[in-house]
Amino acid sequence: MVSITEKAMRAIFIFCGLAIILFLVGILYILLSNSMPGLIELGLGPFFAADRWNPGAYGEPTYSLLNMIYGTLKVTLGALIFAVPVGVSAAAYLAEIASPWEREFFKPIVEVLAGVPSVVLGFFGLVVLAPLIARVFNLNSGLTAFNGAILVGIMALPTIITLAEDAITAVPKEYRHASLALGGTRWQTIWKITIPAAFSGITASAMLGMGRAIGETMTVLMVTGNMVARPESFLDSVRTLSAGIAIDIGDVVFNSTHFHALFVAGLLLFLITFAVNLLADILIQRKPEVSK
């Protein structure tokens, strides 16, 4: 016989587990229920039209998210271009090269980096990076997609390093031994055998880092200048989807079209992040091929 307390404990734990699903479904419900009126009123077209995000315009407000999608892509891809090579190399260092004490020293630092509040990073971008970028590239303002990409890349680094290191460590040591026994240097072994063998895990780490970067709000809000114009280069000011929502949500009229349009932007972000995370998960589940 299972006692009452046993049953109660079981129920509590199951409830906590289910609560996670409940939260996710709840968030999706709120996003859908608040964006639907906007989608019904305007249709999908205006959100991807070639004009601008200008919901406050007198007469004909426009709701195009396109420039903000460009902004998000620019910051995110820029962040990955910077963070993936650095992160994977750092992971390779931690997994393959570092001595035990070096590993003990660096791993907590990576964790601390993960814990830096985004507003602090934003502040750093504002007072250090922005003037530097303005001077180096001879710009009026250093508040650009480039600035945001670097900082978001820094924020994605801990995710990439930790997961890529796990993936590299999981590569069977037999591969390494085979390469070394054939006269491969440690360097050749890392780049030609270990990292390719860990490829799916490393890709997953990049995807999860990307998921982190796409939704990042506070830092990009502070350092990218937030112009809704279509960005031409990395050195233009951009507004990302996340920053766009954060900027407008404070003084939007409740239940107005503008309000619902912001939720459409939120839904879009949610879907992108969800897709990226799902893909990363599939890649992580895929076991590396191991010899019989």
Binding site: A181, L182, G184, P196, E289
Partner: protein, 285 residues
């Protein structure tokens, strides 16, 4: 290098050649005349941290032919094998005393080029360990990291290596398929071919058939007999029958000591040491 004089080995090697019934004995005779030593280990002591794994091992292996190392599990035979291509370097805290020379060169000097050493001294492991790449890329890996880019030359090396490992006919039509799709025995021959592609002088084999089935084992044993005409093969096995079948010389290890080293036929029929006799007659191990 061929002219290196190693007098101390003469007695054993002379007896070996006179009694050796195997066809390659003529080739070995010239080597003995040159007294050229392929592998020469003197007073080797080896430590994992504070644990001593090998005690005062002295051995001389002549060029070409098969040398088998037998002994019970944990006797140090694999450790000894990995001394010869310095794979033990990968294990932290290992230490070595004594002298290990290959082709007359001490391989444990501060100036030793370990990468170069491992190109001369190839290794085949207990479990087949092909890379998660195509058959072609597995074989081409060694030449490629050596800087060879020419596609035609690479194809030639892949073909001759696979032929050398008696695998060519089975895989020639699917060189671009993943190596991990091959059977265990084929994978092991692929690993042998991969080692041959680097053109080593010596091949170390660490229980190469212990993880594969009897028919595949026989193929590999036949292959070893073929290869020993051109390579010096040192094989660790805990299968005594295998050692008897394929080797010219056998060394018996026990608790880190090389108890006996001699011609395979005499070691198995007329062992000098009581412990060897006890082991080969199955009294322990």
């Amino acid at each position: 290098m061929k002219m290196m004089q190693t007098n101390s080995n003469v007695t054993l090697e002379e007896t070996r050649v006179q009694e050796d019934p195997k066809p390659e004995s003529t080739k070995l005779e010239t080597d003995v005349e040159n007294e050229y030593c392929e592998v020469k280990v003197e007073n080797l002591n080896f430590f994992y941290g504070s644990v001593q794994a090998l005690f005062n091992v002295t051995i001389k292996v002549q060029e070409k032919g098969v040398a088998a190392l037998i002994g019970p599990s944990g006797c140090g035979k694999s450790t000894f094998l990995r001394v010869l291509n310095r794979m033990n370097d990968l294990i932290p805290g290992t230490r070595l005393e004594g002298k290990v020379s290959i082709h007359g060169e001490n391989i444990y000097t501060p100036n030793t080029d370990v990468v170069n050493l491992r190109k001369k001294v190839g290794m085949v492991f207990q479990h087949p360990n092909p890379f998660p790449k195509s058959i072609f890329d597995n074989i081409a890996y060694g030449p490629r990291i050596d800087g060879l880019k020419d596609k035609i030359m690479l194809s030639e090396i892949v073909e001759t290596s696979l032929q050398g490992a008696a695998l060519w006919n089975e895989v020639k039509d699917r060189l671009n398929e993943p190596a991990l799709a091959l059977s265990g025995g084929q994978q092991q021959r692929l690993c042998i071919a991969r080692a041959l592609a680097v053109k080593p002088r010596i091949l170390l084999m660490d229980e190469p058939t212990s993880a594969i089935d009897p028919i595949a084992t026989q193929k590999i044993e036949d292959l070893i007999r073929d290869l020993c005409a051109n390579y010096t093969i040192i094989i660790v096995t805990h299968n005594m029958q295998q050692a008897a079948r394929i080797s010219d010389h056998t060394g018996f290890f026990l608790q880190g000591e090389m108890v006996e080293w001699g011609k395979t036929s005499s070691l198995f029929t007329n062992p000098e040491d009581q412990r060897t006799e006890d082991y080969i007659t199955g009294r322990f191990g």
